[in-house]
């Protein structure tokens, strides 16, 4: 596997977290609620970044399975904000067009952002429909959705204001130019 010695510097620069402080106590991993289904534990990901194993990290399931619950960030004795590290890995994987190991998660994130960009607010029913079209999981949670709709928890039409939508679009357009 190819080594990228600068990878740790890049992650450190973008996340503002000094990963080299990690002494592998694995507190992050023992508290992680999703570790049971990850391919590499959070502590292994941190170690892999320090070793320069860029491809392993960006191709891992782990980065997409992090729920951002902040348990690791809260408990790390070296005060490394692991969620910020995972965030940077995710945006880097998208930038480099790396095929994600778990396709649904980045599709969902991108759809949410597109939704906010054009409406300014979340339109749940439209989002669910678009997610189904993009992932092909048409039958997933159909019953749950129908019950939610019947109970008035999903609205047929989006609720937004034009001024809000314009504001959001403006933010996204300008953010594109800011590196």
């Amino acid at each position: 596997m190819k080594l990228y010695p600068d990878f740790v510097i890049q992650i450190k620069g973008e996340s503002h977290q000094d990963i080299n402080l990690c002494y592998q106590c694995k507190k992050c991993t023992s508290g992680c609620p999703i570790a049971y289904t990850m391919d590499y534990t959070p502590a292994q990901i941190i170690h892999a970044i320090r070793l320069g194993l860029k491809e392993l990290v960006l191709n891992s399931k782990t980065i997409w399975l992090c729920a951002s619950c902040e348990t690791c960030t809260t408990r790390c004795p070296q005060e490394i904000d692991l969620v910020k590290v995972m965030d940077v890995c995710k945006s880097l994987a998208i930038c480099l067009r790396i095929k994600p190991k778990i396709k649904e998660v980045p599709i969902f994130y991108k759809l949410v952002l597109t939704n906010i960009r054009f409406l300014g607010r979340m339109y749940e029913l439209g989002l669910i429909g678009a997610l189904k079209l993009c992932t092909g999981n048409f039958m997933q949670d159909v019953n749950l959705g129908i019950t939610m709709f019947k109970k008035g928890k999903l609205k047929l039409l989006p609720s937004f204001t034009f001024k809000g939508a314009l504001t959001a679009m403006n933010i996204f357009n300008k953010a594109k130019k800011v590196k």
């Binding site: 503002h16 609620p33 999703i34 289904t37 399975l65 729920a67 951002s68 619950c69 902040e70 348990t71 960030t73 809260t74 904000d81 995972m86 965030d87 995710k90 945006s91 998208i94 778990i102 649904e104 998660v105 980045p106 599709i107 969902f108 994130y109 949410v112 952002l113 906010i116 300014g120 607010r121 979340m122 749940e124 989002l127 669910i128 997610l131 997933q140 949670d141 019953n143 749950l144 019950t147 939610m148 109970k151 008035g152 928890k153 999903l154 609205k155 609720s159 204001t161 001024k163 809000g164 939508a165 504001t167 959001a168 403006n170 933010i171 996204f172 300008k174 953010a175 130019k177 800011v178």
Partner: protein, 289 residues
């Protein structure tokens, strides 16, 4: 009369409608008024900070700027995801080098401070607790409940500055003031799987089943929550949990505002208790609420 700026966020207008309605009815009785921010936009929630940090910060700061424009000094964010994003934006702007300059290229903003509050922080103030006690109409002392705080209210503590991060007591204190017995349990701040409900529901089904299981083991009749996403996961996924693990919990999940509302004598249909997946009528009739 105390007035706050109000940021409902997307969920309180849709999946968490009961939370919005019950919160407002209780606040009306407590002489607290909310002024909704005009033209508010989504905070970006988890997807925004996962993909683009600067977009996430800008969306939250934009809303905070709208609060300043209203002339308010405090904003109430009932959704825990919004609460966490607002707090994180404020914290990162103060502590991360170069972030302010980046943000200024997207939008103007001022350094004036705004206090971001979760309704639990308002309700747990001594004067409000006394008020609740004074106008309390129903005794809910038969009810055994566990309080579920979820991830982002207390974590990370340096950002949210909300109670003790591993074992918070704020909700227990509020519900205790209306006579409800709040039980000790070890899943107060465990994760329910959050937005994986839409992408990898198996994770939410497993994590929510663990939470419900512990609640049942300590003898809780209901779980009190303070976040619309935790609510929909714990309440809406019980049928899937039954299918996946053959365990039928049937534990009603109530917003803490609904429980306070019941004790203040607000009728259950006014608190939208019928909008939950798991039936709440049996719990309320057994306890003569």
């Amino acid at each position: 009369m105390k007035e706050y700026a109000y940021y409902p966020g997307c969920s309180l207008h849709s999946t968490g409608r009961e939370y919005d309605v019950s919160l407002k009815s209780v606040c009306k009785l407590l002489d607290i008024e909310f002024r909704e921010i005009k033209d508010w936009i989504c905070c970006g929630s988890t997807p925004a900070h996962n993909i683009s940090k600067i977009v996430s910060i800008a969306l939250s700061v934009k809303n905070i700027e709208l609060v300043k424009k209203m002339g308010a000094k405090e904003v109430v964010t009932p959704c825990v995801a919004c609460f966490s994003r607002f707090k994180a934006a404020i914290y990162d702007l103060q502590n991360e080098e170069g972030l302010k300059d980046k943000l200024k290229k997207i939008m103007p903003y001022s350094d004036d401070e705004i206090k971001v509050l979760h309704p639990l922080e308002i309700f747990s103030q001594d004067e409000i607790l006394t008020k609740i006690n004074n106008i309390k109409k129903k005794d809910l002392s038969g009810l055994k409940v566990v309080c579920y705080y979820g991830c982002l209210l207390t974590r990370p503590p340096k950002v949210t500055r909300f109670d003790e991060c591993e074992y918070p007591q704020t909700m227990d204190k509020i519900l205790g003031s209306v006579g409800i017995v709040t039980l000790d349990w070890s899943y107060k701040t465990d994760c329910c799987g959050a937005s994986f409900s839409l992408t990898i529901p198996e994770i939410v089904i497993k994590l929510s089943a663990d939470i419900l299981n512990e609640a049942r083991l300590v003898g809780a009749e209901a779980i009190a929550v303070a976040c619309p996403l935790c609510h929909i996961n714990l309440d809406g996924r019980q049928a899937d949990i039954k299918k996946a693990y053959h365990r039928d919990y049937e534990i009603p999940i109530l917003y803490f505002t609904q429980l306070v509302g019941l004790s203040l004598g607000i009728l259950s249909d006014k608190l939208l208790l019928d909008k939950h997946f798991v039936d709440t009528t049996r719990l309320l009739s057994v306890n003569k609420v």
